[in-house]
Amino acid sequence: MRMSYADTTQRLGLWAASFRKRGFGTPLASVISILVYGGLAYCIWLAVDWAILSAVWSAKDVARCGDTSGACWSVIDARHRLILFGLYPYEEHWRSTLACVAIIATVILSCFPAAWSAWRLAVLWVVGFATYYLLMEGSLLGLRQVTTDGWGGLALTLFLFSAVVLLGMPMGLGLALMRRSEMPVVRLFAMVLIDFIRSLPLLTTLFTAAVVLPILLPSWLEGDKIWRVIVAFALFFACYQAEVFRGAFQAIPKGQFEAGKALGLGYWSIMFRLILPQVFRHALPSTINMVVVTFKETAIVIIIGFFDVLASAKAAFGTGEWSPHYLEVYIFVAAIYWVFIFSLGQYGEYLKGRMAIAER
């Protein structure tokens, strides 16, 4: 058993040796290793057996679900469209599919170093978001019009997410600049706003936007509930992102700003040509982290009555026929979230590592 590790792969020999030393170096270490790996393997076996081997896959075989000890994926087969697209008109689901692909492609493209300039990223996100919006809304492309109330499921979650990031990023930069301003009133304004929003639960902010703002705003300024919530969510994002930018600003030597001044450059040209490109680079790993957190936090909108992917998941097992299979539905949705968040998070870690090396 021990030997087989080292023998099978010579290339990994060194690693294996170290692994063996750390994992099986002492009797205690060996016992721990066997227990932990055994436990993990057992869990994986249970999961595989439940989710794959004993599972029922097709909606047609739903009758067999009662007999098997495994998962009943029939519910996903039958209801996945509801989970992914909510109440969007059934015949128009191809539009939702394409729109979701547009957003996911935008996120993936943003991960390539070739896209890393403020302008390119801005163009990319605006184009991705516009593609999504035009497809989903439809009237401008001559398709059947579907307003935001008809959007739902994963498509709505992605919409909220991309709208929040797109709106929140410039707001965050603005707040960060205000926070650094030499003008005390401007600085104080940004400080109070940032601290206030950051001290409140996101749900409170969104609830206020959804329910309280209409009382405080004159009717012509109200807008739709979904846009009020998006703006509030973007403000929340911006307040955290402003702190990320602030950290990045602090990493830039003061001398650079003074050098720019000495060259006779104005505030804005120093900012845009000299400082901001560096700030963006410094802020990138933390920004990715913020984006990941934002995606995760969108799940909260179910409480203020949006038909997001979690709400549509609940609707998916909310009928008498499917109600015993809540577990499968939750696992399906959790897996969607997990894949998105895990891969983005890992990418952020990788970048952080790479940038740490570059800076050494």
């Binding site: 109440l87 935001t148 703002l213 004159p218 109200e222 097992f317 909310g318």
Partner: protein, 362 residues
Amino acid sequence: MLHVNTYVPIYRTNKEGIMKSLIAIGATVAALTTLSATTASAQSATVTQIMERGTMLCSGHNGSYFGFVEVNDKNEWKGLDIDLCRALTTAILGDPEKAQIVPLSWAQRFPALQSGDVDVIIKATGWTMGRDTELGLQFSLPYFFGGTQIMAHGDLGITDATGLEGGTVCVEAGTTIERIVANYLQTIGVTTNNISYESAAELRSAYLANRCDAFAAWGPFLAVLRATEIDNPDAHVILNDQLSSEPIAAAMRQGDDGFVDMVNWTIASLLIAEEEGITSANVDEMVANPPNPRVARLLGVEPGMGERLGIRDTWAREMIAAVGNFGEIYDRNLGEGSPYKLERGLNNLWSHGGVLYAPILD
């Protein structure tokens, strides 16, 4: 394909929505103009607004409230309350497809009405003094009567609420039922733990999973649930206690009498149509050949029906053609034509032993 229930999510254009929101970012600047606020117009502002917008905003539900507001397999809204919304939409705009259903939880319906997210709440909503006065609402003619009842798991072996001592009762958050149940159980001296949930789906699954011993809700809803959604109806009993009888009515914002008239006469016309035997099938025949002056007036063969409300004379005719009379709506959603097969009982016309009646059409 049956077009009556098609879900049509069209209303104000979204270009406007984006613009508004973008403007809202600069809200601080714009707030300047609040100081020169607009005053309400003389005639029904809501009707004018609906006509300008071209769609009617009605309350939906975050999930299904069987028979009243539900979503079918094709993701379309249907139910008694949805059909009433479509009737009202046809009356004002001439087309049931222009009804726009906004999904809302129970707790959100009043804030949503107050903020203008919906024009009217037609959502199994009881008429209470608190809502009428403190919440600033205005109620229409009641279109349904139903009381709060309690359903319990059959294996508890109880038949009335005194058997619930020490048990857990689940209700939906933000409803009148929440207060009625708490009040009733205290009155009869039964101590329970009450849990309220935000949505019907959550509540249902908690009850079915036996988290709650009993489920307090509106009687018709419980009957529907027991008849269709539960595998074995005999495993559940609806307790004998009748906790309340609520008049269910449409709720509107206070201060727009014209709109209240509009909603009242929509409901009244549906009842009169049933009384007179006018159905969606024979409405054209009736128009061609009105059997009596009342029918002639109702269907706009004689003028006056529309002018008084500031809309078309033919509105009731179009409405009945689109959704049918009250009896048809009931049968389709709750009665014989539905899976629930609920008796009409109190909710029949006065002439058939019920308590529904329309004001006089003169």
